[in-house]
Point group: C3
Chain length 223, copies 3
């Protein structure tokens, strides 16, 4: 069977592990990388930088591109790139990159543009939004909702009926108890225990997690 | 091959993920749900509520029932239901629901009526008691003993030679170091680090975990 | 296919779970155990104690031994045994024991003499040193370096670009954030959150982890 051709948006480090996932999944053939900074024609992790988002219409034609995925860890940047892609090609097809070891429940709903690294578990009735990112071993319990552009980092786990707002980032080694709602654009710091709901636009951490300060939209959270 | 018929006891949310496990295991055919409150004939997660525990003898006859499993998260309620089932049908056969992703050591001993969600790991020489429940990714290290009706929630891990007493609940994101004994009917709160043994009938939490108060037998611990 | 014969060095409890891994991997046939204390001819977990390290040349001849692995949890002891083996048989071949459930990235580099229990994940571009030990579900993120004779215990996770020094032990349930360097012969206590780099030869723990005291080379860290 002929694999369908896709491109990756973003030639940074996240491209590296996204490539690992896609190669292991064996569903798609990566024709190259679209990036706004890297030199066109340069090599990134074994693949060629084909051009900029503006070049997408001609790239789709030249490389018979079926779809693509955004390989960018920062939630706000992933949002901006998805907007710019859909601005240029409104019906662009975003695919998922789900490591073969990931477990998905029979009633889990998965969006598009989702990247899930090895060992992630999405339980029944969980709703996984579009353009979300899950690092190694992130666990989403039953009846949780992870909104678009949110992320959960390595080793973090939720209880049941947890909501994680749009663009929000649950970082490394976080535990979120049952029935907690985390707002939009909120970041939960590493190793936190979240026992109460958190509002929009805050940075919170600690055990139990406390609000440390407000956060601007688009503020970076990754080191 | 003809799958053997089983019933689930309990039509609440835990039935939902237990169904997911059983369907993925492919060892049993669920003929319906036995529940003390839900309307008989109503639908729960795609299966019909067949009757009450009192109706079990006739249900076994009518549906050619091989066995069953209790899909209830609260440890005390699971205990009470198991007692009432065995009271009515003393030789009732309880089966296990073990997600296909669960890893079991070559010398691990597994009881009956055990529910283990995706990603659980039971290491060699661990002893897993009857009617125990393990949520997503719970890890039981080598030479641990988990007594009957106990539970370990998502993302919790034990060191080696840990004992967890009958009816006790290790909740979400807990770490228990090597050679710690947790008593009977004790609850360890979310995100705790347990560095010393805990007695019977207490609620303990924190890092390190401290005894917060005593607990009555049968007291609820789930939100 | 004829499996290649190996020996285990160390007849203590770690032999038990190492045997479980090797039997599940199905790559090697264990001919017996080499141990400095256990009675020669005695049984350990179903295998016979064949002799001491000093007897290795004749054991290799008599049992057609292809290689071996050290089944000892203490990092310093594992180092000393590896030295004594290589002193007697300089070209001795150390093999790995990697549980079949372990996930390894396409660009991960794996040393020799590595033991990885069920559920471990080694991400792309991680470098896993020789004679390292990883307990249940330990996760090493992308671009990390785990130096020789180091260990990571159950349920511990790292962020990306983390370095763990030679002989150092990350114990149970530890979270290490991105871009942290842990020195040589350092121990991180259970349940810690490591947010800053740690020097050589210290014991550190807490959330965030703080240096508690200095550590001597070869000091025991396991209970």
């Amino acid at each position: 069977m002929q694999l369908k051709n896709i491109v990756l948006f973003g030639g940074g480090n996240q491209a590296h592990y996204t490539i690992d996932i896609i190669e292991k999944e064996g569903k798609y053939n990566i024709v190259g990388i679209v990036d706004s900074i890297c030199d066109i024609g340069s090599d990134k992790f074994g693949y060629t930088v084909l051009g900029r988002v503006e070049n997408l219409p001609s790239l789709i034609h030249d490389h018979n591109i079926h779809g693509g995925i955004i390989s960018i860890g920062d939630n706000w940047s992933r949002y901006k790139v998805s907007e710019s892609v859909l601005n240029i090609v409104p019906d662009f097809r975003f695919v998922n990159a789900i490591h073969p070891s990931v477990v998905i429940g029979n009633t889990t709903k998965l969006g598009v543009g989702v990247v899930a690294m090895a060992g992630c578990i999405f339980n029944p009735k969980a709703v996984i939004g579009d353009f979300t990112f899950f690092a190694t071993g992130a666990q989403v319990e039953h009846d949780c909702v992870v909104h678009d552009y949110a992320s959960i980092s390595a080793g973090s786990v939720t209880g049941g009926y947890v909501t994680i707002g749009k663009l929000s980032a649950v970082t490394l080694g976080v535990t979120i108890v049952d029935r907690v709602d985390i707002g939009t654009n909120t970041v939960v710091g590493a190793g936190s225990l979240v026992t109460k709901s958190l509002p929009d636009n805050v940075l919170a951490y600690g055990s139990p997690a406390k609000i440390i300060r407000n956060r601007l939209l688009g503020e970076k959270f990754l080191k």
